[in-house]
Subunit: 119 residues, 2 copies
């Protein structure tokens, strides 16, 4: 169920590399990895769950409101993290030559479906 | 010199709250805070330098290339971080009702000027 939604996001996004649904505790629920790529999605997820946790904590301390999205741009990828519930987030990796805006839109569109399935 | 550039960014961006030039070690070089707001820019900078450091470390571990930008969306603000040099980054806070794309563009435009002054 989760995998089908993650697959929709990755395959619908030009340059989509993979997507992962994960707890802020670093435990992955499900993931979908597209073809031809060399990314260890689980490792990416664990690293970014730490970052997402840090960002969430900082947002609380600074009283800037609840975290909803983190985007990271590196030389090779865009990494977009959206909060699904208090406990879970979804991360999407998009190639730098891909369509970042499309990825963001697809995540935003599918988050409610993921949320329903998590509850 | 730095403050003038930071001011250009904040005042040029619709909804610009403040901008800070900071080391990844959490030590602020300069900052500019717009009027009417209640944000402790120094505190925001310190919190986000930790996050930027984490993200940079994760990018290295995961071999996803050098970090160039981190964007964070919370209930109240957009926070955009762009790497200036190996040691410094600039952070811009934009109100959620403001123009995020404009802020990103202005940061991107001014980073080379900040870089020149830092060297």
């Amino acid at each position: 169920m989760f995998k089908a939604i993650l697959k929709d996001i990755v395959t619908g996004c030009s340059g989509g590399v993979g997507a992962i649904l994960m707890g802020f505790d670093g435990i992955s629920i499900d993931q979908y990895l597209g073809e031809d790529n060399s990314v260890d999605l689980n490792l990416v997820g664990i690293e970014y769950s730490n970052i997402a946790k840090e960002v969430r904590r900082a947002a609380e301390i600074l009283n800037v409101g609840t975290l909803s999205e983190v985007s990271i741009k590196t030389e090779r990828f865009y990494i977009i993290i959206q909060v699904v519930t208090d406990e879970y987030f979804v991360g999407l990796i998009v190639d730098r030559s891909g369509n970042y805006g499309q990825g963001r839109y697809l995540l935003m569109r599918e988050v409610p479906r993921l949320r329903i399935d998590l509850e």
